[in-house]
Symmetry: C3
Subunit: 108 residues, 3 copies
Amino acid sequence: MDESTALIMVTTTIESIDQANELAAALVSQSLVACVQIDGPIISHYRWAGEIRQSNEYRLTIKSSLISWPRLKSRLAKMHPYDEPEIIMTVVDDASDGYRSWVIDQST
Amino acid sequence: MDESTALIMVTTTIESIDQANELAAALVSQSLVACVQIDGPIISHYRWAGEIRQSNEYRLTIKSSLISWPRLKSRLAKMHPYDEPEIIMTVVDDASDGYRSWVIDQST
Amino acid sequence: MDESTALIMVTTTIESIDQANELAAALVSQSLVACVQIDGPIISHYRWAGEIRQSNEYRLTIKSSLISWPRLKSRLAKMHPYDEPEIIMTVVDDASDGYRSWVIDQST
């Protein structure tokens, strides 16, 4: 894989649709990412303080370039309202050429 | 990883549920893929012509075999109604044996 | 990648929201996973007995540690009500430090 043209998919979750839209628009407007897709409400199951809990959240699926990742990782953690948000990143193994170019152009 | 039995997950988006169902059925019926899952509406945020926009879309999550990928990539781009659709592919790192066999059988 | 701190994302699907919530709660309570997110209903397209079919399902997106994977893979297959459920796993390439620690703590 050529690291200079690799794409990434980053996922985070947030508790309201308004926060999700605000974070998505901020990420795109700052050219940290090419696009963000929001789905939800999703139901999250997890353990907190020894108890199993469930809560509704919205999920952001972010597409960006691998070379933007260090900056995106740091900025997203600061922009996110949670103390410890889920921020996970997977490198995309292949993409259509036109889409790849568009993502690289938008997020570098 | 054994490339001949590797599975892939491919994602694309499309603007209506009717288009999503039509594309999904065509991919399965042509044995290009084993299954397609549609979720949505999702909200997409992106920049177009210098402006931040948002629009509703439906997302297709496609499961196929790695050996089908060159053919799937090319055919999906032709079948998709967008000029530059999102087509991204990730190789799956592991899967249950029965599911792996079923996907390989359906998409080669 | 350091295998002892690597995270994984595992996906499965199930036919009702009640089954989805029950499976998610069981996975978290048994410390096999850190969290499970449920979305749906999604529409699944696939071929069965030579016919193209579609059905509604719910999708579970599971976050756990790579070292838990052998145990999770085996247990999930037994806990799942389907004979041949979709169980696919992708290793996460990077994550925020706090989230990584939390997942590792919850699922080992």
